[in-house]
Amino acid sequence: MPEIALEMKNITKRFPLVVANDNVNFKVYKAEIHALVGENGAGKSTLMSILYGLYQADSGQIFINGKKIDIANPNVAINLKIGMVHQHFMLVPPLTVAENIILGMEPKKNNIFIDMEKAIKRVEELSESMGFKIDPKAKIENISVGIQQRVEIIKVLYRGAEILVMDEPTAVLTPQEVEELFEILKSLKKQGKTIIFITHKLNEVKALSDRVTVMRRGKVVGVKNTKDTNQEEIASMMVGRKVIFEIEKEPLNLGKTALKVEKLEALNNKGLPAVKNISFEIKEGEILGFAGVEGNGQTELVEVITGLRPTSSGKIFLYDKDITNYSPRNVREDKIAHIPEDRRQRGIISNYTVAENLILGSHYRLPFNKGLALNFTAINNHANNLIKNFDIRPSDKDNLLKSLSGGNQQKVIVARELYGEPKLLIAAQPTRGLDVGSIEFVHQQILNERDKGKAILLISADLEEILSLADRIAVIYEGEIVDILDPKKTNEKELGLLMTGSTANKKLLKVK
């Protein structure tokens, strides 16, 4: 029987409106990689916050190496050798790698001065123990997201962590970086570290973990040895019903050219070229996927087409109509629907109700605006219909949008945008941060539109999504389309290489 590193027994945590953890039992063996999976709001993060001392459980006990302990705050957790790598990095951009790592635990010379040499040496030792090199003197703002994550890992190891909690670590990484991360985690395991890996990507569970704990609605619904289970089983445990993985696509049925973009150029917020000489077409009934690492011009491209950003040169045609530099309202009136990548900032008004959000963009038109005043009968009927058709939960039109889960907020956006038969649908990162059930739903909606003969522009950082949905894949790198591929004739590896500018950048990231 392997040694138990951590055991959480009968943990219950109540919040005013929900029971976030309901009598949860969670056990992790020493030197194992343990995946903790579940939909958004299943209680994974709450459980880990309790372990890290951010919350106190209402009842239940925590044992580390068999000893009952009480974790009042994160400092206690750090002393108990628990380390947490957050999804959003906690790094100071203008400081160097070494400075970030020692922050708050600086080695001292003569008790006064920071011993930078010692710090740099320690950082190098730690990185080499995991099989990669890092420049301790590089500034955080100058290194890639993947390397920043390594800094976070070294940071917790520097503090002596034996148990590492990784909160959705792959969400921000390219496929190559994910592979490299997995190598690092496996080498840590060899060193005897225990790793808890929070995720909702099931292929990662399969590729990395030894065991998996599945949570649903605040409860643990299953613990499995990874090799004895499969993705379908884990998914159905997470969602509580069977999940269809294989997306069944109707055969391609192309119509007229709906969107034509010619030699488009645009600047980003800093005034630098972000979209460079981009040309493409989308036909009715077709999904054109844009694959690329975030920040390579996708955001600006979508904003230019939807009228949110001016074009510096080039033309955009919807069917035969020139819509270059149209205002956002005119673009909407021409029936271009837009699921924005920044859901919270762009897509919703979180202090508006569901009903109010569902009319955003058409609020000034009949039937919602009639004469002097808004027509609340029409607004409410509209809301109730869409809530029913798109299964938005909770099903109360008067809830503020901020009280809804991410998945349901996205459903509100999808419902609103698909209403009124758009001619072109632009979906940017439509499933980011969503759980399995919601992803399935959004994918189904996008495919329905395709099969109805709509043109669809899909932008996603998730290659699996692009590969399974798109009929053609455009790879975008530094504002340019580097290639347009047939999804049937390519794979994640090839896309990943193209997305990162292929060989040049590859060297920097390469695991030694």
């Binding site: 409106l17 709450t46 609605r217 605040g218 309202r329 900032q345 008004i349 963009g361």
Partner: protein, 374 residues
């Protein structure tokens, strides 16, 4: 996650924070009164019984609340669009002066034309003055707080210039005594430009009301404007857009809403509300522009809006509370033969504002802590 259906105390708590703040402020006020060596129970009893214990008191309270309703609404309305209009003071000066000018210039117009004309001029003057910071914000991104503060000074100096230019000729008595105008003021507005006081109306309904009470029809205009503000914000397309811009300019832009247009409109409507102070102070009370007649009402509007949580109903209630404190405070000052200074009321108002801010933040943190489920 399991949902527990129960009464949500926090939402309620969020709504009543101003009430908690007022109670705390009165307690702090009690300490101050004790430090002066007076009996707080006596002081508060005198204050409230005189302010709201009889009709005359109520009249005075509503008269003092009226301008605060206007300026409070001005701040609250702009705030709903995400704008902090500190310029109520200046907008009020310009709107009021223009209305006064119309009132003493077009003296041969009948009341049914002159009264609406003066009211519209007051609103238009405030709106125009507020349009400047609105346009600058919308087109160039200059912060409205800076511009409105500066425009307050311009408005104060400009109206001072104007009052000297349109100074009333000395009366016969003044000529005979050989004195000059001590405080500059303009000629009086035409009879036909004056808003009726409430006492003749109340007396015709057989309600006993003192003839010297200054509460006038402007109070009803203020209530009307509060209802109008509510209607615009929550029942119209314009309000939907203004609030959308206030909550999230990015989402508004995405939804095809012009952020610039709504910022300018919201500022202008806000300025119009502030300009309407003139209906009470000039058309219903002094009948002339008198220099420094209503200094500070614009700024007090900020406190009123804050206490009223930027909701028209809240603004009306907060303005009435400030009216009670103002009038009651003046009475207490007289009753205690000056031992309780009028400034105590300013202390109370300030403490209320501080407590509103504190309790708002405390409740917000409580809610955030309790609801933090990731």
């Amino acid at each position: 996650m399991k949902s527990i259906k129960k009464f949500d105390y926090y939402t309620l708590l969020e709504k009543i924070t101003p009430l908690i703040a007022v109670i705390f402020a009165l307690l702090v006020g009690a300490v101050v009164i004790m430090l002066i060596g007076e009996n707080p129970i006596f002081v508060y009893k005198t204050l409230f019984s005189n302010a709201i214990g009889n009709r005359d008191g109520w009249g005075n309270v509503l008269f003092r609340a009226t301008p605060l309703i206007f300026t409070g609404l001005a701040v609250a309305f702009a705030f709903r669009c995400g704008l902090f209009n500190i310029g109520g003071e200046g907008q009020m000066y310009i709107g009021t002066f223009l209305a006064t000018w119309v009132g003493f210039t077009f003296t041969n117009l009948p009341a049914f034309i002159l009264i609406p004309l003066c009211i519209l001029t007051a609103a238009a003057g405030g709106a125009l003055w507020a349009a400047v910071p609105g346009i600058l914000k919308a087109k160039t991104g200059v912060h409205e707080v800076i511009v409105t503060i500066m425009m307050n000074w311009i408005a104060a100096s400009f109206t001072f210039f104007l009052v000297l230019k349109f100074k009333a000729p000395p009366t016969e008595a003044m000529v005979a005594a050989g004195v000059k105008q001590m405080i500059p003021h303009t000629r009086e507005i035409a009879e036909a430009a004056r808003l009726p006081r409430l006492y003749p109306i109340l007396q015709s309904l057989n309600i006993d009301f003192p003839a010297y009470n200054q509460v006038n029809v402007s109070f009803f205009i203020a209530i009307g404007v509060a209802i109008l503000a509510y209607y615009i914000l929550w029942k119209t397309n314009l309000g939907y857009e203004i609030r959308a811009v206030g909550y999230s300019p990015l989402a508004a832009e995405y939804g095809g809403i012009s952020v610039a247009k709504n910022i300018i409109l919201a500022m202008m409507i806000s300025g119009a509300f502030a300009g309407l102070v003139g209906t009470n102070e000039v058309m219903g009370f002094k009948y002339k522009w008198r220099q420094e007649l209503f200094t500070g009402l614009g700024f007090n509007g900020i406190a009123v809006a804050l206490l009223g949580k930027n909701h028209p109903l809240g603004v009306v209630l907060a303005a009435i509370l400030f009216g009670i404190l103002n009038y009651g405070g003046a009475i207490v000052n007289i009753f205690t033969e000056g031992r309780i200074p009028r400034e105590l009321i300013m202390v109370l108002q300030a403490v209320i504002v501080i407590f509103v801010v504190i309790s708002d933040e405390v409740v917000k943190r409580l809610i955030r802590q309790r609801r933090k489920i990731l």
